[in-house]
């Protein structure tokens, strides 16, 4: 990364995380009491798990209710390999981490295909299954009584026994993981995860392999949790099956959501606050669960985004000024060929026998009354829904069975009827996400995104979040996001809806510019003042069937078109 790429102030960007780490490093200066250090060590170990969980839940939006067992796997791997097989703790650590990763991958593959909280359901029973597994293998796993006399870690001949030394060891591990995750969260990968969290369909349309990313994040968070378990077990020297059971798993999630997920420091805040809360509530003694539960419910009701959610996220990314030349594509190349595609929803034929093609530098408009199947046609071409039949060729490749993100990577950009921007990303970040469609993390993307930002004239709102912009700006952001990845083909679903005539005029000139540098555009819109002057050809759909595909003049004078628009008594004359 060069200095021009938004990393210009590495110090500034890393400042929050370095500040957090410095604060933790200073704690022993205030007290070296073994108890106090012990509490902070446990809190750091929890922080390690929670920031990994945050990556999964806060960024990728996937809930794991049994995350404690990954900690348990790390703990057991270290505990058993050191006590039963005589391994060194350092050697056992990666074994636990790998075991946890493998289990996570095995669970991720089936459950993360599905949308919603299926991972939460699948992981809910983990603590119970783990407990049962430990018990049936009690001959070598220690059963319910747990694993005892686990040796401490050694460095050469030195045993890491001193609480102060162990505190700094754990802090060192936390520091490494924290810095990696912090930069990851602030990288384009972080943007992609937030996009998945907000809208999986929109994320796929931007070339993001949603399932793979969700699974990777789950595996990573499991590995981090196992690491925490290893470090725990060499400190406490004992582990039992219920040490990291359901209660622990729930508390992890509680600490994260109370602190505020999707914000690394939110998780840290949650761990520290809830970790010290019992101490503050000592007078309340047995009322602690009541107070704890009430606080959790209250925070969730009144600050659904947790304590950190009160402050808006600050973006790491700012537009850069250097210009990049427009990518120009060869004209007259066939970009899209649609042949006889079909789609029915529960007996209703939404699209029937639709065929057309678009060349580079051509704008093809699809018009038709509401419910004619226009949006369905776009969804079929982009891969958001599967076709029932027919073929689709994109730049010569058959794509009818390819997932949406593959089609996006092959050069298909699209907008949605109702702008589907990622609300948790700024305007610039949304466009940058679109520019990173191929998954590359090069500076080129940032230059490209900045350039697109200029092209659509949104520099003044670059650092605004979508809800801080107006409808026109959002529409332009959406279009900018779609073509920032330099797609060969752009599918635009009603870009003019709700815009003023002046806005529409500007939109038209933007589309002309895109056409001029050789992009193929499929435009769906009702606004004829946008469609007719711009289009090379117009296809009219009615009740899912194409009724005419010709040049604009021919189309508007066709009686069938008037019939479709104005009903059977299409005898209205100008």
């Amino acid at each position: 990364m060069s200095k021009t790429s938004g990393w210009s102030g590495v110090g500034v960007r890393q400042a929050p995380v370095l500040g957090i780490l410095a604060a933790f490093a200073a704690i022993p200066a205030m007290s070296q009491d073994a108890y106090v250090l012990g509490v902070w060590t446990f809190l750091l170990l929890n922080i390690l798990v929670v920031i990994g969980l945050d990556l999964l839940l806060g960024y990728a939006g996937q809930l794991s209710l049994g995350h404690g067992i990954f900690v348990a796997i790390g703990a057991y791997a270290s505990g058993l390999l050191t006590t039963k097989a005589g391994w060194s703790g350092w050697a056992a650590m990666p074994v636990g981490t790998i075991a946890a990763s493998l289990l996570a991958a095995a669970v991720a593959v089936p459950t993360l295909r599905l949308r919603g909280y299926y991972l939460a359901l699948a992981t809910l029973g983990f603590p119970v299954l783990f407990d049962a597994m430990i018990r049936v293998t009690s001959q070598w796993s220690g059963g319910s009584s747990g694993v005892i006399s686990i040796p401490r870690l050694r460095l050469g001949g030195y045993i890491l026994r001193d609480p102060l030394v162990y505190y700094y060891l754990v802090l060192g591990v936390v520091a490494v993981v924290l810095i990696v995750l912090w930069n990851l969260a602030g990288s384009r990968l972080g943007l992609k995860l937030r996009a998945i969290h907000a809208d999986e369909t929109a994320a796929s349309a931007r070339g993001i392999n949603v399932v793979f990313l969700k699974a990777s994040v789950f595996v990573a968070s499991a590995a981090i949790a196992a690491l925490s378990g290893s470090l725990y077990v060499h400190n406490v020297q004992f582990v039992a099956p219920d040490t990291f059971g359901l209660n622990y798993s729930l508390i992890l999630v509680i600490m994260l959501v109370v602190g505020g997920m999707g914000r690394i420091w939110g998780g840290i805040l949650g761990v520290v606050l809830l970790g010290w809360m019992p101490e503050l509530l000592r007078e309340a003694a047995t009322w602690q669960p009541v107070i704890f539960g009430s606080i959790l419910a209250t925070i969730m009701l009144f600050a659904p985004n947790g304590l950190a959610g009160v402050v808006r996220r600050r973006s790491f990314f700012a537009p850069v000024t250097r210009k990049v030349p427009n990518t120009t594509f060869h004209r007259d190349e066939r970009v899209l060929t649609v042949n006889e595609i079909e789609k029915a929803f529960g007996g209703v034929q939404a699209v029937t026998g639709l065929s057309f093609h678009v060349d580079a530098g051509e704008i093809k408009s699809i018009i038709g009354p509401n419910g004619a199947g226009k949006s369905t046609a776009l969804a079929l071409i982009s891969g958001a829904i599967a076709t029932d039949g027919g073929t689709i060729k994109l730049c010569g490749q058959s794509v009818e069975t390819a997932p949406a993100f593959k089609r996006a990577q092959l050069g298909l950009g699209r907008t949605f009827q109702h702008a589907r921007l990622i609300p948790t990303l700024t305007v610039y970040e949304n466009i940058l996400l679109g520019a990173s469609v191929l998954g590359s993390a090069t500076q080129r993307d940032e230059h490209q995104a900045s350039h697109v930002l200029q092209q659509v004239g949104l520099e003044h709102v670059a650092q605004h979040y979508p809800d801080q912009t107006n409808q026109y700006e959002r529409r332009l952001t959406e279009i900018g996001t779609a073509f920032a990845g330099n797609p060969r083909l752009l599918l635009l679903d009603e870009p003019g809806a709700g815009l003023s005539s002046a806005d529409i005029e500007q939109l038209a000139s933007l589309l002309r510019e895109l056409k001029a540098n050789g992009r193929a555009i499929v435009l769906v819109d009702h606004i004829m003042s946008l469609v007719l002057p711009l289009s090379d050809s117009v296809l009219v759909l009615n009740s899912g069937m194409p009724i005419i595909d010709s040049d604009p003049k021919t189309v508007i004078s066709d009686p069938k078109v008037r019939l479709a628009y104005l009903g059977e008594s299409g005898d209205v004359h100008a």
Partner: protein, 292 residues
């Protein structure tokens, strides 16, 4: 293996399965009307059971104590709904789940104060058994099965034969459209909470005499009931009952034929299998879209 003990395994599974099913019905009713997974559902079971223990211990006849306990559960259900309805904008499935977990923790803590930590029981039916197809079935099991069937029948009549029940289904189907014909979704949601709490309380009253009840039984019961609802299909309250029975039978057979070490694992193994092959549950409609 001694095959003639299999009916005994099944009978044991059926009894607890029916209770899981009743708890699952509560999850289903609330989820369908308000899209909230209510993890405090198990606490209604605990409060229903323990309230009856206290009331009968205060020498109230069970015929009085049970309706009073049910009334208390119903009030708690209404209170929970009122609490959740104060949620701020930006709340989503997750924050509602966490809120109900918070409520469950607080209710459990409160239960500990009210009833202490010992497990408790009261007498509802006389001790006694009948032989049924090679199994010894106690009156508790028979009462539980009868009560579950009655609840199912009443629920069916309510949902399919009364206007207000139909309105509740309409609300679950399309709450916007329901508003346009004069249905107030908030009332339906309140009704769902009240009904779920009542059914949960009843489940508690049913199991306390034979299985004891203590302040911390709520979470494990909630998880089993929730699993039953998922297995049966969250969209269908009767599916939850079937799901519960399936879980119970699997547990009974698993303990009997495989190993009692894994008793709790069978339910979750079956949950994993269901999630793999039929994510919408046995009786759910295919609502879960596949991410492409």
């Amino acid at each position: 293996m001694d095959w003639d003990v299999i009916p005994q395994f099944l009978a044991g599974g059926l009894a607890i399965g029916a209770v899981y099913g009743l708890i699952g019905v509560g999850f289903s009713l609330i989820y369908n009307t308000s899209k909230v997974i209510n993890f405090a559902q198990g606490e209604f079971v605990v409060y229903g059971g323990l309230a009856t223990v206290s009331l009968t211990a205060a020498s109230l006849p069970t015929a009085v104590a049970i309706p009073l306990s049910l009334a208390a559960s119903v009030v708690l259900g209404g209170a929970l709904q009122s609490l959740l309805s104060t949620a701020r904008r930006g709340s989503n499935e997750l924050t509602y789940i966490m809120t109900t977990i918070g409520v469950a923790i607080a209710m459990q803590g409160l239960a500990q104060h009210i009833w202490g930590t010992d497990f408790k029981t009261f007498a509802l039916y006389s001790d006694g058994t009948i032989r049924l197809m090679g199994a010894t079935v106690n009156y508790g099991t028979i009462t539980t099965l009868l009560a579950t069937s009655t609840v199912c029948a009443l629920l069916w009549v309510f949902l399919y034969r009364t206007m207000i029940g139909k309105a509740m289904r309409a609300c679950a189907n399309d709450s916007r459209a329901a508003q346009t014909i004069g249905i107030r979704p908030r009332r339906m949601v309140l009704l769902a909470y009240v009904a779920s709490a009542g059914i949960g309380g009843l489940a508690g009253i049913l199991i306390t005499p034979s299985q004891m009840m203590s302040y911390d039984n709520g979470v494990p019961l909630a998880i089993k009931g929730f699993t039953a609802a998922i297995v049966g299909g969250l969209a269908n309250p009767f599916g939850a009952v079937v799901g519960g029975v399936v879980l119970g039978l699997l547990e009974g057979l698993g303990v009997g034929l495989i190993s009692s070490d894994l008793q709790n694992a069978y339910a979750f193994l079956s949950l994993l299998v269901i999630l793999l092959v039929r994510p919408q549950g046995l009786f759910g409609r295919a609502a879960a879209g596949s991410a492409r």
